[in-house]
């Protein structure tokens, strides 16, 4: 065995994050590490990479006991990690990033030419055609991800940990990345793969280990498991029907009374003018590749960028959507894609985070009493199953999925008439995923209208009554009823304009 972990235990104030976990990694395998948010995946990885020091247990690398106390020590031992938020410096060149900390020196100065050569050598075999002397920021997230992997492999070269590497990649980029990973596996590396995307787990991995509440549930060959079994292991109970995501019984268009109408709404450089009508209680889906103009559409509707053309109307006339405050006053809500940057207030508590939008609407002079904040928080902690060690815990200490739930709770508490959700389930575990989809159905049944942006087509198919397809900053297709299938959406995303009529025919 390349890497063996026995009875690993790690305790934090109030919680036992890892409780006697065992884990094995063979050379030349890709091993998936799965579990719900808060199951202990991140803690396990951090104990491996030296970011945390374990309380008890044994870690053995190639038969030797190891106790890395820092990430650099773990790297020297041979354990490299690539995180979802790539930990490279975008303002440096690719070569500088690759050789960072090991720059080739000449007379005490960095030898630029040797640096470039070394960087090119490190990237050999990754099938990347890039100029290593350019800034890292000129390349896409997928390429940065591969560069990060190349760096980790060159520095460490025994164990490679990939923590949610595909969360911000589109389908084609994922394929490129997987080709690289398979290649490394064949070269004999042991690879730990953490992901919420079960399709990718089945596609890529050889074995699966599932954690739940800091304990082992199973370790199995991936081929011996099916999707439902795997989800059940993660949840710890049998699945309710709606989790697997049967397609919604789609109503035909025009069954919802019109709530809002955007006419020729657009802004140069963001999104071409579009027409969109939103029905009361309707779920609209927005599909398209990353950067296609999905998020830009939402930002325009919520007043983050002012529309240059067109107007938004409701039954009472034209709406002023020139700023988020105005949009909120018009009954809009927006849970953004980047929850860390744009969503949570990391240092504030869960109740304060949930009450923030409501407090902003009431004005500073009318504070929401603490007791009411707590009541509100407790209601949503239960409703959305937010895992906290107590209501005073800063939101920044919660796991990513739970942070997302706090942002959702903030907007649900506002009870807006039109709520925009940008990738609401990214990085969220299956249980919470199903819960959020169920919530969407519940609130729309009560009359709220929702616009959901998602890269997961299954999700759109499961909840949306109508799907708008965005490509190259234009709304190119609108699918309703039985037209909403993975196939039509993918073809609409891929098709050149003139073929659209054929797609819909």
């Amino acid at each position: 065995m390349l890497l063996t972990i026995r009875s690993l235990t790690k305790t934090f104030p109030g919680t036992k994050a890892l409780d006697g976990v065992d884990f094995e990694l063979a050379a030349g395998e890709v091993h998936a590490l799965l579990g719900e948010n808060g199951a202990g995946k991140s803690t396990l990885i951090k104990c491996l990479t030296g970011a945390f020091v374990r309380d008890a247990g044994v870690i053995m690398l190639e038969g030797e006991k190891i106790s890395p106390s820092s990430t650099s020590e773990a790297q020297e031992l041979g354990i490299g990690t690539v995180y979802q938020e790539v930990n490279l410096l975008t303002n440096l060149t690719v070569a500088q990033n690759l050789t960072f900390g090991n720059e080739p020196l000449r007379f005490g100065m960095v030898d630029r030419r040797a640096q470039l050569r070394q960087a090119e050598k490190m990237l050999e075999g990754y099938k990347l055609d890039i100029d290593v002397s350019r800034d890292l920021s000129t390349y896409s997230v997928a390429i940065r991800q591969i560069i990060a992997i190349a760096r980790a492999v060159a520095l460490s070269g025994k164990v490679l940990i990939l923590d949610e590497p595909t969360a911000s990649l589109d389908a084609r980029e994922v394929e490129t990345l997987f080709a690289v990973v398979r290649d490394l596996r064949d070269k004999g590396l042991g690879i730990v793969f953490v992901s919420h995307f079960l399709d990718q787990v089945f596609d890529l991995t050889d074995r699966v280990t599932v954690l739940r509440n800091g304990q082992n549930v199973i370790t199995e060959r991936t081929a011996d498991l099916d999707r439902v079994q795997l989800i059940e292991h993660m949840l710890g109970h049998a699945l309710k029907d709606d989790v697997v995501g049967h397609a919604k019984t789609h109503k035909a268009g025009g069954e919802w009374p019109e709530l809002l109408k955007f006419d020729g709404f657009g802004r140069r450089g963001h999104i071409d003018p579009f027409d969109l009508s939103v029905g009361e209680g309707e779920v609209l889906g927005l599909a398209g590749l990353l950067g296609s103009g999905r998020t830009e559409s939402a930002e325009l509707m919520f007043g983050l960028a002012a529309a240059q053309n067109g107007a938004a109307r409701d039954a009472n006339g034209v709406l002023d959507l020139s700023s988020p405050r105005k949009a909120i006053a018009a009954g809009f809500g927006f849970a953004p894609e980047e929850r860390k940057e744009d969503g949570i207030i990391a240092d504030l508590s869960v109740p304060e985070n949930i009450a923030l939008a409501m407090q902003a609407r009431r004005g500073w002079a009318r504070p929401i009493p603490r007791a009411e904040q707590l009541r509100l928080a407790e209601a949503y902690i239960e409703k959305l199953d937010i895992r906290t060690s107590g209501p005073e815990q800063p939101v920044g200490d919660l796991s990513g999925g739970n942070q997302q739930k706090v942002v959702l709770a903030r907007w649900l508490a506002m009870n807006p008439r039109f709520l925009i959700l940008d990738e609401p389930t990214r990085g969220i575990d299956v249980g919470a995923h199903a819960e959020i989809l169920r919530l969407i159905k519940q609130v729309t049944a009560e009359g709220m209208s929702i616009l959901i942006i998602s890269s997961e087509l299954d999700e759109l198919i499961a909840v949306a009554d109508r799907v708008i397809v965005v490509r190259d900053r234009r709304h190119v297709a609108e699918l309703t009823g039985s037209e909403i299938t993975t196939d039509t959406i993918v073809r609409a995303i891929a098709a050149p304009d003139r073929d659209m009529t054929e797609v819909l025919a």
Partner: protein, 341 residues
């Protein structure tokens, strides 16, 4: 209860300092009544600490938004000059106070606009007024020390109410008022939210721009009050020396108060304890009778010790030690129970 736990390190530090000074100067804590006024070193500290205390109130709010206000010392000079000029021009006490406070508001609006609307980094934005402010004050005083004799104005420097020095009363009341305003309304939480994450707060509908301007205005107002106290104290406006370097003491007070320069959670009470700690050090050094050339070095040494003791890394160690001791106790108790059975 929570509020008390928050200021415990500062209270302990102050207590330790008082004990230390009392060792060198046994009469430190004695308070006498002379002519109906309370007189004693502690009263002196409360009075002398007024300018830094007032500045620290405003500075706490600015720092909570991840900002900093370097201009408060010069704002003191400007507002003090305006107050003295108004008195000599015969605007009366009300007019002088009003104009001085107005000057403070104007300084705050200037800083706040640069930071919140133009997006200039707070340290640079407020540096502009810090460097130009003394010039403005000199223009007001026409380059000389502008003295006045006006008992009403002088009251803010040397008067007393029920035996308590007026400056001490002013800063305690200001601090209590602002603290109550922050925690009695939602302002405190909204300021913290903007300080931690302005983008996310704005997206949740918080009017971050107005809040940011407001904290700089609050800081300008606090500086105006401090300027009035300083001018009233010497019955004159000294554009060159009023409030000189006090912005640094005010920032130090906020930091000793355990408020993070990265913004977010803040405690005005803790900042005030910080201001008291600084003033106690200043007064204590003088009382202890060290030669004056040692003063600054001793002050720096004490501040260093305090900051190291309060540093996050050290407090993490303390927490770990306490936890270890606790778990040892628990195992000891458990084994004692077992042997008892």
């Amino acid at each position: 209860m929570n509020a008390l736990r928050r200021v415990t390190p500062q209270l302990l530090t102050l207590a330790a300092l008082v004990a230390l000074v009392t060792v060198f100067f046994p009469d430190f804590l004695r308070i006498e009544v002379v002519n109906g006024r309370l007189v004693g070193t502690t009263m002196d500290i409360l009075k002398r600490g007024a300018p830094v205390g007032l500045l620290a109130v405003g500075m706490t709010l600015v720092i909570a938004t991840r900002g900093i206000d370097l201009s408060v010392g010069t704002t003191m000079a400007i507002t003090g000059a305006v107050a003295a000029w108004s008195i000599t021009q015969g605007y009366g006490l009300g007019g002088a106070l009003g104009l001085a406070l107005l000057a403070g508001v104007a300084a705050g609006l200037w800083n706040g606009t640069l930071v919140a609307i133009f997006g200039i980094q707070p340290i640079v934005a407020t540096l502009i007024l810090m460097t130009s402010g003394r010039g403005i004050a000199q223009l007001v005083t026409e380059g000389r020390i502008l003295t006045f004799s006006h008992e009403g104005m002088a009251f803010f420097g040397s008067g007393d109410v029920l035996g308590i020095p007026a400056p001490a009363l002013l800063w305690v009341l200001t601090a209590a008022g602002v603290a109550f305003l922050m925690r009695g309304s939602a302002l405190g939480m909204l300021i913290e939210a903007v300080g931690v994450n302005r983008a996310a707060s704005a997206l949740a509908g918080v009017n971050a721009t107005v809040l940011l301007i407001a904290v700089y205005v609050a800081s300008g107002l606090c500086a105006a009050l401090a300027g009035i106290v300083a001018t009233a104290d010497i019955r004159g406006a000294d554009a060159n020396n009023a409030g000189l370097w006090l912005e640094l003491d005010a920032i130090l007070a906020v930091v000793i108060g355990g408020n993070s320069l990265m913004g977010g959670r803040f405690s005005i009470a803790a900042s005030l304890l910080g201001a008291l700690i600084i003033q106690t050090i200043d007064t204590g050094i003088l009382l202890a009778g060290f030669p004056s050339e040692y003063n600054l070095v001793i002050k720096a040494g004490l501040v260093l010790i305090i900051l190291v003791l309060q540093s996050p890394n050290l407090s993490h160690h303390w927490y770990a030690l306490r936890r270890a001791a606790q778990s040892r106790r628990e195992t000891a108790m458990a084994s004692a129970k077992e042997t008892g059975q």
